[in-house]
């Protein structure tokens, strides 16, 4: 398994491939591979709207970090 950390100032639900998978600022365990990361909306108060990443070669202590900026 691989590990993702979504940085965002507020507590929000994280969408991975359009499915709710955990929250911002926690380490989310996911299957290795290509994923589209976003935040549950509305409100659309974040940028970018979504990020496409290849999740691989991570560990619980070195997760892949994806940052969303609050608008």
């Amino acid at each position: 398994m691989e590990y993702l950390l979504v940085d965002y100032p507020a507590h929000r639900e994280v969408l991975v491939d359009k499915e709710a998978q955990g929250n911002t600022n926690e380490i989310i365990e996911l299957e290795k591979g290509t994923h589209i990361i976003s935040l549950k909306a509305p409100p659309y108060d974040f940028r970018p709207r979504r990020r496409k990443i290849v999740l691989q070669e991570t560990s619980p202590l070195t997760p892949r970090e994806v940052t969303f900026v609050e608008l």
């Binding site: 998978q21 380490i27 591979g33 290509t34």
Partner: protein, 466 residues
Amino acid sequence: MLNFNIKILSIAVMSLALLAGCAHYHQNQPLHGASCPAGYDYTELAEAPPGGEETFVVLTFSGGGTRAAALAYGVLAGLRETKISGGKTILDEVDVISTVSGGSFTGAYYTLFGDRIFSEFREKFLYSDIQGELLRRVANPVNLWRLASPFFSRIDLAAELYDESIFNGRTYGTLTPGNTRPFLIINATNLYNGARFEFTGKQFCYLGSDIRSFPVARAVAASSAFPILLSPLSLVNYPYPAEKKITAQDKLALKDYTNNKRRYYAALNNTVYANDREHPYVHLMDGGLADNLGLRAIYDLYVREDIRAAINQGRIKKMLVIVVNAKTAKKETFDRDESPPGLETAAFKTATVSMDNYTFESAEVFAQLFKERIAAQQSRDGCQQLLDRHSMDGYQIPPLAGGNLKLYLVELAFDNFTDAAERDYFNNLPTSFKLSREEVDRLIAAGGQLLKRHPEFKKFIKENKN
């Protein structure tokens, strides 16, 4: 007089020919405007009462004819006798049952009829000579003519028998209202690509089909269509908008050939149905050809589907997976002879070797997933402890989504018996749908014993009693 006899004979032959021509397998129905999946999908069941999934229990029942069905029944009985906190039994907590072949009879019966299984199932199925009854039906002249139809075969006759004598005509539609647990996943194998095919609303969505009118007995028949002895069971793959047949996840996973072949091939197998012109029909055989444990379905749920989401959303706190494996290790003698085994032995081995070969591997792959999660929790917590001890800035490592899970994997197999005589007895039972009452009773008792003696199960009980 001769003319009259010829006329009678002609009418009889024409009637029977007509009967044969009319005989057709029960077709799955297309989706008519319903959203996809139209029913019997795990996500519908996910709306459990608050805390309903906190202790998440999964059962997998392997193939192995009546031997597997009886062993699984024994495990269900054992779970019913075992109480945990809140006065509940572990059986009350079962969320998902994934079944293959012989195990599908037990899993389907329990899901359809609940506790009635304990008063009905022995006489209705375990003690009965199902294969003898099937042979009698095959030999019936009316059925012989029906079997002459290219659209009706032995598996359809078997499905009719199971429907009438075991499952009372129940369809998946009867499982949908109320969304009661456990969620049943009956597994078969798609002959075209050798992929696992599950009887769920999600899988039927790929066929553009509505599972609600589909008889559970036909799913069980497909799951237990043992190669050569029974014919494949056919389904129609209906035209349906491609954007609904290929999910967003599948589209992404199709890019992952180099990154993650398991994910890529799972998506490839899902999307084969999108080409309904090239694949207008699906022919299914015994689920054991793809996975004889029923564990691959749970692997997919855990790694990328609904169990993964439930863990990451913090709905699951403890997970107990009980794998009931009725695999045998019959002593063979053919390698004492210089001349090779005959056609019958070779055919039987060809049909079963692939089923048995990877059961051990499937269980190991799943065990590794649990170990990986525990290791992730330990390394995160260990690192945090070191920081707390040696760092002054109070930095907190982000928590793992879902928190610290407690995971228990219980593998039940005849090889778990430490007594050699007991082990040999069970390992030499045949794979058939006819066992003696004594054999069935011993298998039921074995299911309960294997369960209650298993160290991981004992640990689960200890940690979940008041």
